[in-house]
């Protein structure tokens, strides 16, 4: 086992941590969503990369080959990609509405606006 034989896992982890970092460290709502997407992409890699078996061919049954790459992770990740897209779309729609309501998409400014409104006795 060497670094290069587990290269995909290293990339997965790098993307995972990078994505999470962006979510946590950035206050701009769209940047957080970008970070979230990067984080989700790392998962796609986690599933798909091991699907390619060493010496495996395309998963179409054929008498000449004995080892086939695993098609199931692709199926799973197609679903996960769809989920990711739906999440991203929903998140962006929320950002649009937040922009309309608050005139900003920076989280700290939004929280400040809420605190100020609270002090003025607004809201239920």
């Amino acid at each position: 086992m060497s670094f290069w034989s587990h290269f995909s896992y290293a990339v997965t982890i790098a993307l995972l941590i990078a994505g999470l970092y962006v979510v946590i460290a950035r206050g701009n709502l769209i940047k957080k969503l970008i970070g979230l997407s990067i984080f989700q992409t790392s998962v796609y890699l986690l599933y798909i990369a091991p699907g390619k078996l060493i010496g495996g061919t395309a998963p179409i049954v054929d008498g000449k080959h004995a080892v086939y790459s695993n098609p199931l992770p692709h199926v799973l990740i197609l679903t996960a990609i769809v989920v990711g897209i739906a999440t991203l779309a929903l998140g962006l729609a929320l950002v649009v509405r937040i922009r309309e309501a608050y005139e900003t998409i920076e989280e700290d400014e939004i929280l400040d606006a809420d605190r100020a409104a609270d002090r003025d006795g607004h809201g239920a």
Binding site: Y47, V83, T87, L90, G91, A124
Partner: protein
């Protein structure tokens, strides 16, 4: 013939209802379809429970593809109970939602509310019933995405940020879960929960499996809102439309707890879960922190919904305490609290919604003296509050009884005192409402208010009455919880 396909139908009916509602376009038609779907699901869940009691485990292959290659829906004593809870709450909230949503959501968006409600119901039912780990993720995301929409439809603009924050945290949680499932798949080659349980023995103790356990735990704990991963819950519950808060408070976290129980006891197995990683200690500490700190936070909120939301975080601590005790009494207490807290919190949020309907506010300053102008609503809140405290004759008492017994069975008096002492904090915040509603001079809003309309009161007080009923007649709840605990501890799936 329908009887054979109940496991699939209980998910499919609300799932199909959602696009029908969108096509119908009108709020009233949407409400009617949603109510019909909820009632049908509830009837099917009850039928499933009866079938499971008679026949044991029910296994249903989707599309007739046999497991473990196809997706399997598997109903046993544990998830039949959870299904009944989820669908029952949907059936109670749906009629209530009509006027409550009409008052809180703009007219042109109301039909979308009902469509989302059906999707949430389908998603939660799917999580409860599925026997496939990845399928669970799919349903988890279906219910979560629909939930984000529901929360964002709240009147207050803070609902938008609350929904956004829940989206971020919920997606991280679901993704952690799917990372864990991926690791399990890599190690065992299967996604079917029963098959995983069988194959995991060979790779038990290897690092990927331990990592999978950790990822799945953290992922689900974000959804469960276990302290300190609860940050999204108070705002989400407080700013969502009242009817949906009631439904979510009673179901969303509970179904995620069920998923955790399923993985801990049925897939990984009790010995591996609690032996390989210090889950017992972690859950114990976090549960006690939740019970005390979240309940204390509830005392100092300035409006009723935030108070109830923090109270929920505290009550979830009770459930996870039972899990950390890992014995028959403790798990019985956990599972029975899924139900007891579900109906109690749903009742309380429905009544809070009635207050919003008349007073347009739930701040304590505006609730002063409401005991006089809205006596039934206030009395219902007191009943629900007493159930939170755990007064005998209320559902909440049954939970505490079993949790203390579980702690004593585990040999610890110190742990035995934690649920009872933290229920004193619950008494403190419940009494805050009592004194506000009955002892203070009426505020302007309260003085002008009339009692809530019957369509709102009947479901809400019905649930409040259920809190009392299930405090006396525990045969259903404790019987089901006991059977569930036995199934989980038995390990067999």
């Amino acid at each position: 013939m329908i009887g054979q396909h109940l496991p699939a139908l209980v998910v499919v009916v609300p799932l199909v209802a959602a696009p029908l509602i969108v096509l119908a376009r009108r709020g009233a038609a949407g409400w009617a379809i949603a109510t019909a779907a909820s009632l049908a699901s509830f009837a099917m869940a009850v039928a499933l429970l009866l079938q499971v009691r008679a026949a044991g485990v029910i296994s249903y292959a989707i599309g007739s593809w046999p497991p473990p290659w196809g997706i399997e829906y598997r109903v046993d004593a544990v998830n039949a109970f959870v299904l009944v809870l989820v669908t029952a709450l949907a059936a109670v909230v749906a009629p209530y939602a009509r006027r409550s949503i009409a008052a809180e959501v703009p007219a042109d968006q109301q039909y979308l509310c009902y469509a989302m409600l059906c999707l949430v119901l389908a998603g939660l039912a799917g999580i409860a019933i599925t026997g496939d780990a990845f399928n669970l993720f799919v349903f988890l995301e279906i219910s979560s995405l629909a939930t984000y929409v529901l929360i964002a439809l709240g009147r207050d603009r803070r609902a938008l940020l609350a929904s956004y924050q829940y989206l971020i945290m919920g997606t991280i949680g679901a993704t952690f879960y799917v990372i864990g499932v991926g690791l399990l798949y890599l190690m065992t080659g299967t996604l079917n929960l029963a098959d995983l349980a069988a194959r995991i023995g060979e790779v038990q103790g290897s690092r990927p499996v331990l990592a999978a356990l950790a990822f799945i735990t953290v992922g689900l704990c974000l959804k469960i809102a276990l302290f300190p991963l609860h940050y999204w819950l108070p705002n989400a519950y407080a700013y969502a439309p009242s009817a949906f808060t009631a439904f979510l408070a009673g179901t969303a976290t509970k179904v995620s707890i069920y998923a955790l129980l399923r993985f801990y006891f049925s897939v990984f197995g009790e010995a591996a879960t609690f032996g390989a990683l210090p889950m017992r200690e972690i859950f114990l500490v976090l549960s006690i922190a939740a019970m005390f700190l979240a309940s204390l936070a509830a005392v100092f909120q300035d409006n009723l919904k935030h108070m109830l939301a923090y109270s929920s975080v505290g009550q979830i601590g009770y459930i996870t305490l039972g899990i950390s005790l890992d014995n028959q009494a403790g798990l019985t207490g956990s599972v029975v609290h899924l139900f007891n807290h579900g109906i109690t919190k749903a009742a309380l949020f429905l009544l809070a919604g009635a207050l919003v309907f008349r007073l347009h506010s739930v701040r304590f300053a505006d609730l002063a003296g409401v005991g006089r102008s809205m006596p039934l609503t206030a009395a219902g809140i007191v009943v629900g509050g007493l159930s939170l405290v755990g007064v005998p004759g209320m559902a909440g008492f049954v939970t505490k009884w079993y949790l203390v017994r579980g702690a004593l069975d585990a040999g610890s008096w110190a742990i035995a005192f934690t649920p009872v002492v933290s229920s004193l904090i619950a008494l403190w915040y419940v009494w805050r409402f009592v004194e506000t509603a009955y002892f203070r001079a009426p505020s302007a809003a309260a003085a002008a208010a009339k009692e809530a309309p019957a369509i709102l009161l009947v479901p809400a007080l019905g649930l409040a009455f259920a809190c009392i009923y299930f405090g006396f007649d525990t045969s259903f709840t404790v019987g089901a919880a006991d059977a569930a605990a036995r199934t989980l501890l038995g390990g067999a799936r």
